[in-house]
């Protein structure tokens, strides 16, 4: 195998496949279209179709072969070396979606048998008989394949030739087969093998004539493993004890301690939050907060800390609400469905609903299965064998999911940690209601008494039936009542008149209202409500729908409904919409002792509510002036205090702790239709919930849900299928993610894409071994005292498995530049290794990595001594400068600075506001929150340097760090500097480092006139900026 060629294969363009015009928004960006250029489209009809007219310079694609090390050709790996070329360059016309000339390169039988033209695309061992080779090597532009884009590179053609000469072995794409149980490979240097992982890695290295790098120095290893497992630097004590412990088990003690640390969950959670596009807000104009999203974040942290088995972790997120033992975790975990961006004011509501489902499908398929099923929204997947039908069959699992909404029971459910908490809440709620009732009763009694004494003419009609009445006004056209919770109100306000009132409407047609308030029920009894409206309306009292009068109609035929009510304040709600024509609303109620009292603004007398308001005002001023004398000063004061307290009570809501969660429309979701071209206006055939065909899926068997059920049970079926050891991808995808965060890249470099356009695994056998090991939880017994042995799907165990390996413990340098190659192993020289394997595909050393955004911020806070390790709770808001906030349309909106203590909490607790990410986090490549982020970028930009040098945070932390040094090292500058280096770099500084630091301090003092303290602060700032500070060896 020639390494350079491998790379070239990967670098070949992902072919651009012609996509038909489509509608949907999210994916409306498939590979398109220049290929369907005018010239080419007309003439493509034969196998290996027509010419394209443009010529590309082939020479530039020639690969320098000088760097390749000559070796006899190894067997060409079809899946890794040939299929990607076919997928990227040939599938457009000869693939899953299209079969020009009846040839499909994704179907073995068409490749090896006679085609329409009578020719054979591939004849094993026969280059001249293989039409494929003739066409890709043709020098005739009109004959050569592929017809568009540059020709295949010589190295690609070489690979194809070798493959055919070797017999054209054909295997299906690796990822669609189940992981295969792998025997451990034999190796020459057995002494190096510390774990099964090492056998897989070393055997590949040896086959390429490479030796692994020597072990990392202890300090470097400690820093590496501490950051990889917990995201924080080790303490000096931890460093000291590790350096001082020469026993063979010293490292394992460290690993076990780190795995037990609560910081482990915080760090691992952040990786997962990237995958599930976690944010605390919705994006778009308001970028409003998602209520209680932080509980999902805390749930993820706790899950990792408790080593929740991964299969359970999946089930809880996808269907925790349906799990019989789901509990609060199960409910909170389904926040998964609600984390995506959400436009509360979309231009096309139907399409927007499908966009949200697409976001769920995309995240589910990429996150758990490493498949870009999302590419099949509008048409069959162009590359992977995922038909469009599969996309909609997957969508059917989610069809019952209610739309996102503003805070309301549709997206929020109460969660109580304990039964006692629930009891407490119920009691508090009851007490609150009782209090309200008592205050109201007392106030009414005093007012009645007052009226009697002053001979006021006030009647019962003065008493307000509706209080605390608020409205939300909406503008749009409907033909029936919408779910207003999903819509953005145009205006909101208070109604003082005590009537449902349409007058806040700013137009005559196409609008809607939601009124919510409190109905004062005079006595326990049966009440009848009557509703007449133009157009539709719905009256809800005490949480129950009493009258529904939906649809377009005119006034004149009121509907009514009865309900028993308890005396006291009772929630009431009226939904109303005006569609076309006139408007109108009449609501009355009858009960013990009264008939047909109006609850709506009287239509015949538009001044009634004004009059009522006036009466009330008059009464209030009357009681204010005469109250003290008529009632007596003390009773009047009491009265005033009651009125005040009632007002206070009404403003104070007793709210249960709630979770952002999924809900469904009921046991029977609406039918799911395949949408032609992804267009919601073009429904096609009906589909039912079914698993992906490429993974051997079938229609899902879903037990019929009880009529009283609140959900369909579909998501449980999906969760069980994904979280199963028979699923071919689930375990592989997760072990690859765990691996990725220890080595800087996955065994599959594209962790969200295991399909044909993803990167092939560099160590497939290792990946499979890890996946099976993960699912089986077989024992790993180094040292014999492992804390996590035997657990199937144990994430902590998998971490330990990896970090205990010799592969993980290698130095990032080779023997030639790492002076301390202690075990004297036969190490390859750096230049040789780079020549053979420049990308370190084979893991001949450990790759350095830059700290993530969170690690940068958290380690600055840790080193300065300011870090607040408090865990959990609602998001915190570290200070953002006015200059940054000036970019908002309402500067400061949605971001009020937290207390100083909270500002130095760990980054995972910082509020994730989609439209305004904390600058130090965004500077260092925080995840894009709008779609699943498989891997962070590592950019290097001058703006990072500016923030690190001149930003307020850095300078404040430098001051704090200097203070710490003075406190802990005393006044001696040598000691201060020496401690500073140790704290920040977690190693003993060499003398030259200290000398340079002292020189800096000295120069700042002598040349720039800085005082002792200021000079030390500048040194601290310098330390934070060191490459060594932000890079791990």
């Amino acid at each position: 195998m020639i390494p350079i060629q491998e790379q070239t294969v990967q670098k070949v363009a992902k072919a651009c496949f012609p996509c038909k015009p489509l509608n949907p928004t999210r994916n409306a960006n498939c590979r398109a279209s220049t290929r369907l250029s005018r010239h080419a489209a007309v003439v493509r009809h034969l196998i290996f179709a027509a010419p394209s007219l443009h010529v590309l310079v082939m020479a530039v694609l020639l690969l320098s072969s000088s760097t390749a090390i000559a070796q006899p050709p190894e067997p060409v790996d079809f899946g890794r070396q040939i299929q990607p070329i076919l997928a990227r360059r040939c599938y457009a016309c000869h693939g899953p979606d299209k079969a020009e000339g009846d040839l499909r390169f994704n179907r073995k039988e068409t490749v090896f048998s006679a085609l329409k033209s009578g020719k054979l695309a591939v004849v094993p061992h026969d280059l001249s008989g293989s039409e494929l080779i003739r066409r890709v090597t043709s020098t005739d532009d009109s004959d050569r394949m592929p017809p568009e884009g540059p020709p295949l590179t010589p190295s690609q053609i070489g690979l194809m030739k070798t493959w055919i000469e070797q017999g054209a072995d054909w295997k299906e794409h690796w990822a669609f087969d189940a992981p295969r149980s792998q025997p451990l490979p034999t190796v020459k240097n057995e002494r190096w093998v510390k774990s099964p992982i090492d056998a897989f890695v070393l055997s590949k290295l040896e086959s390429r004539g490479l030796n692994p790098a020597p072990p990392a120095e202890k300090a470097a290893l400690l820093r590496r493993v501490a950051f990889d497992l917990t995201g924080l630097p080790p303490t000096l004590d931890e460093l000291k004890s590790f350096l001082g412990d020469e026993s063979p088990g010293a490292y394992e003690i460290v690993v076990d301690r780190l795995l037990q640390s609560e910081h482990f969950g915080e760090h691992q959670a952040r990786h997962w939050l990237d995958v599930v596009r976690y944010a605390d807000t919705n994006s778009f104009e308001r970028d409003g907060p998602k209520p209680n999203a932080w509980r999902y974040r805390d749930y993820v942290i706790r899950s990792f800390n408790r080593d929740k088995p991964y299969d359970r972790f999946i089930k809880e997120q996808l269907a925790g609400d349906e799990l019989p033992d789901g509990g609060n975790d199960g409910l909170i975990a389904t926040g998964f469905y609600r984390l995506g961006q959400w436009d509360d004011e979309p231009a096309d509501r139907l399409l927007a609903g499908y966009d949200v489902l697409d976001d769920i499908i995309t995240t589910t398929a990429q996150g758990f299965l490493g498949l870009t099923v999302n590419c099949a929204r509008c048409h069959d997947h162009k590359i992977d064998p995922v038909p469009q039908r599969d996309y909609y069959s997957l969508l059917a699992f989610f069809k019952g999911v209610t739309p996102n909404g503003n805070p309301n029971p549709q997206v929020e459910r109460p969660v109580f940690e304990t039964d006692a908490e629930k009891v407490d809440y119920d009691a508090a709620m009851k007490a609150h209601k009782d209090k309200l009732r008592n205050f109201q009763a007392t106030i009414t009694a005093i007012e009645m008494d007052f009226r009697k004494r002053v001979g006021s003419t006030g009647t019962v009609s003065d008493a307000v039936d509706l209080c605390e009445l608020r409205y939300r006004f909406y503008r749009d056209s409907w033909e029936s009542l919408p779910n207003f919770e999903n819509l953005k109100p145009e205006t909101v306000g208070k109604l003082d008149g005590g009537f449902f009132d349409l007058s806040p409407a700013t137009r005559e047609t196409s609008f809607g209202f939601v009124f919510e308030g409190t109905l004062v029920v005079p006595v326990d009894g049966d009440y009848e409500f009557s509703l007449d409206s133009d157009d539709g309306s719905r009256l809800t009292v005490a949480g129950a729908q009493v009258v529904l009068y939906d649809g377009i109609h005119s006034i004149g035929q009121p509907r009514s409904g009865k309900i028993s009510l308890k005396q006291g304040p009772t929630p009431i709600r009226l939904d109303y919409f005006q569609g076309v024509g006139g408007k109108g609303l009449t609501v009355t109620w009858s009960g013990p002792g009264f008939e047909r009292k109006l609850l709506s603004e009287p239509n015949d007398n538009r001044d009634a509510s004004a009059r009522r308001r006036k009466h009330r005002k008059e009464f209030e001023s009357l009681i204010a002036s005469k109250g003290p004398t008529v009632l007596g000063a003390s009773i009047y004061e009491e009265y005033k205090s009651f009125v005040h307290q009632l007002e206070e009570l009404r403003n104070h809501k007793v709210e249960p702790p709630s979770a952002l969660c999924v809900t469904e429309s009921g046991p029977n979701p609406p039918e799911t239709m395949l949408l032609k071209r992804g267009n919601p206006q073009s429904p096609g055939e009906k589909v039912v919930p079914a698993f992906l065909t490429i993974l051997g899926g079938d229609a899902a068997v879903i037990p019929p849900a009880a009529a009283s059920a609140t959900t369909s049970g579909r998501r449980t079926a999906l969760a069980n299928w994904i979280a199963s050891s028979t699923n071919r991808l689930t375990a592989r995808v997760m072990v690859n993610r765990i691996w990725q965060h220890h080595f800087g890249r996955g065994i599959v470099r594209s962790p969200n894409n295991f399909g044909l356009l993803g990167d092939p695994p560099t160590h497939l056998e290792l990946l499979d071994w890890l996946a099976i090991d993960f699912m089986q939880g077989s024992n790993f017994t180094e040292g014999g005292n492992s804390s996590f042995s035997g657990e199937p799907w144990s994430i902590k165990r998998m971490h330990k498995q990896i970090v205990m390996s010799g592969t993980y413990r290698m130095s990032s340098r080779t023997a030639s530049d790492a002076a301390s190659a202690k075990d004297g192993s036969r190490s390859t020289s750096l230049s040789d290794a780079i020549k053979v394997d420049p990308l370190n595909n084979l893991f001949w050393r450990h790759d350095m990595r830059r700290l993530s955004a969170e690690e940068v911020r958290d380690s600055i806070l840790t080193v300065s001594g300011q870090f607040n390790s408090k865990m959990y709770g609602p998001g915190v808001f570290p200070e953002i400068s006015d200059e940054v906030k000036a970019g908002q349309s309402v500067p400061g909106s949605g971001w009020s600075d937290s207390s100083p203590e909270d500002q130095v909490r760990r980054s995972v607790y910082v509020q994730v506001k989609r439209s305004m990410v904390l600058p130090i986090l965004s500077d260092f490549d925080f995840a894009d929150t709008d779609s699943s982020c498989a891997a962070r970028f590592t950019t290097t930009q001058p703006t990072q340097a500016l923030g690190m040098l001149n930003g307020k945070l850095l300078n404040e932390q430098a001051v704090a760090f200097a203070r710490r040094l003075r406190k802990e090292a005393g006044t001696d500058v040598y000691q201060q500097v020496s401690l500073g280096c140790r704290l920040a770099l977690e190693r003993e500084p060499d003398e030259s480092m200290i000398r340079r630091s002292l020189q800096l301090i000295d120069a700042l003092k002598t040349k720039h006139g800085l005082g002792v303290e200021k000079a030390l602060e500048q040194f601290c700032l310098m330390i934070f900026n060191l490459n060594e500070f932000v890079y791990l060896d």
């Binding site: 530039v60 970028d287 990308l839 500016l946 630091s997 932000v1030």
Partner: protein, 484 residues
């Protein structure tokens, strides 16, 4: 060499996809610069750092080197500015059947609000322009008006995203990001994508309007200010002099160099060392770029900097020219910020609102065009004027002259950078309620911008989420041929 460690997510495969007209030499150059000959350039863990903003050779010979996008945030009314509708004369307050869709939902009827301004003809081309823009009117022979723009959404949130990133959902890179991704930057001492906000505040959705979305942050817009430190954190802290910072940087460089010395194959380390030098240079160059004292009084006057009304926008227009001179690729200026009448969102009183915003910007915009022209820079600089949508011909409310949003038809104009002058393409109906003749979707505008910058709109792609994402989306999108 370019191609950074994009987490293995992207290779600049767009070059492979560029269709006919793609010159071999350009390909060759691009490949070399892109590190396509290098096998080292493809991994997140790759030790070889390559500057993703290094200047790149375009797909074909560009007409423009830089873009200045004058973003009239809120949505200026086309029928009150450049889309002359004489047929509406005398019909004020008439109720008519007309389909509209704005923030107030769909309507089938409305009350005409006749334009409150007179129109006159200007230039060789005889373009009708309203009295809102007496200065811009004198430049019509350099301007191509597109009167038949359409967009997917008449709601600010999604419409802003559409105009800036081509999608109505958030999470995609903005036009300026694409341009920098495709072309790199010519001046490493300044950001390649600069945004200048209105003093009243940012647009809704804030940073989403200059986000690089799924691309690395390298390509996101940088806010530049004409007052205070031009770039956030550019100035040293109080009490820290530039010499002092140099002292610190020297010590930093020394220690970093020793660290990098034993890790010599990791060029990321060298790149980070270099980024501090760039930052230091930026501290010098950015203030120089915003130093108006280098401009003559005459020039400042031309831009209206001598009058309070036009001082702010004039400054920013002049700054835009200075940035173009310094090689900045993409500059976006917002006229209007915050909410309601702080921008062009004239829901209640079209007259008051548009008189205000046009009055603040008319002279500076015209000055920018004239100044660019007199310096022979207009030919290389593509100037775009417009908002996220237009406004309806009918009233939003029962009373008053406010107009709701309109994405069915609106006007944008372009000048310079190879765009024809004195032409008007596309029309709306006699009321201006919807585009009727040759409607041009926002994507066509984006395609035109990329095309003029020398990039193939259907070839410029970025691999994300299993797809080759493009600014213009899935369909093959042609630039607007009539104005090129």
């Amino acid at each position: 060499m370019t191609v950074p460690n994009f987490c293995g997510r992207t290779r600049r495969e767009f070059i492979w996809q560029a269709g006919a007209g793609f010159a071999g030499t350009a390909l060759s150059g691009l490949l070399q610069r892109d590190g396509f000959h290098s096998s080292l350039a493809d991994s997140p863990a790759s030790p070889l750092h390559q500057n993703p903003l290094a200047a790149k050779i375009p797909h074909f010979a560009p007409n423009a080197k830089s873009v200045i996008f004058l973003f009239m945030y809120g949505g200026p009314s086309h029928i009150d500015t450049f889309d002359y509708k004489p047929a509406m004369k005398g019909r004020d307050n008439q109720t008519i059947d007309v389909k509209t869709f704005g923030r107030g939902g769909h309507k089938n009827q409305g009350r005409i609000v006749e334009t409150r301004w007179d129109f006159k003809q200007y230039g060789q081309c005889g373009k009708w322009v309203s009295d809102l823009f007496p200065h811009v009117a004198t430049c019509v022979d350099d301007i191509a008006f597109v009167h038949s723009m359409t967009a997917d959404s008449p709601i600010h949130g999604s419409a802003m995203l559409m105009m800036n990133s081509g999608k109505i959902l958030s999470g995609s890179p903005c036009l300026g990001s694409w341009v920098n991704y495709g072309l790199g930057s010519e001046n490493e001492n300044l950001p390649g994508f600069v945004v200048m906000l209105d003093p009243s505040g940012g647009p809704i959705s804030g940073a989403k309007n200059w986000s690089s979305g799924y691309m690395p942050a390298t390509y996101q817009g940088t806010i530049l200010r004409s007052k205070g430190a031009p770039i956030i954190d550019l100035n040293t802290r109080e009490g820290t002099t530039r010499e002092m910072q140099r002292e610190l940087l020297d010590a930093l460089k020394d220690t970093n160099s020793i660290h990098a010395g034993t890790r010599s194959d990791n060029t990321e380390l060298a790149a980070r060392i270099n980024s501090y030098e760039l930052a230091f240079k930026m501290q010098k160059h950015a203030p120089e770029a915003v130093d108006f004292s280098q401009e003559t009084a005459e020039t400042q006057k031309l831009y209206g900097m001598d009058q309070p009304r036009t001082l702010d926008f004039g400054k920013r227009c002049l700054l835009a020219r200075r940035l173009v001179e310094r090689g900045v690729r993409f500059i976006q200026l917002y006229s209007g910020g915050s909410h309601n009448d702080a921008n062009w969102d004239a829901h209640s009183d079209i007259k008051k609102n548009h008189n205000f915003h046009a009055g603040n910007t008319d002279q500076p915009v015209a000055a920018l065009l004239k100044d660019l022209k007199q310096r022979d820079m207009l030919k290389d600089t593509l100037v775009i004027w417009g908002g996220e949508f237009g406004r309806q011909p009918t009233a939003e409310y029962a009373m008053g002259t406010g107009r709701d949003h309109n994405a069915y038809g609106f006007t944008m104009w372009m000048a310079g950078g190879g765009i024809k002058g004195g032409v008007s393409v596309g029309t709306t109906d006699e009321l201006g309620s919807a585009a009727v003749e040759s409607p041009f979707h926002v994507k066509r505008l984006h395609a035109t911008v990329l095309r003029q910058m020398g990039l193939d709109p259907n070839g410029l792609s970025y691999f994300h989420g299993g797809l080759d994402q493009k600014l213009v989306g899935v369909e093959h999108v042609e630039p607007i041929p009539e104005i090129i």
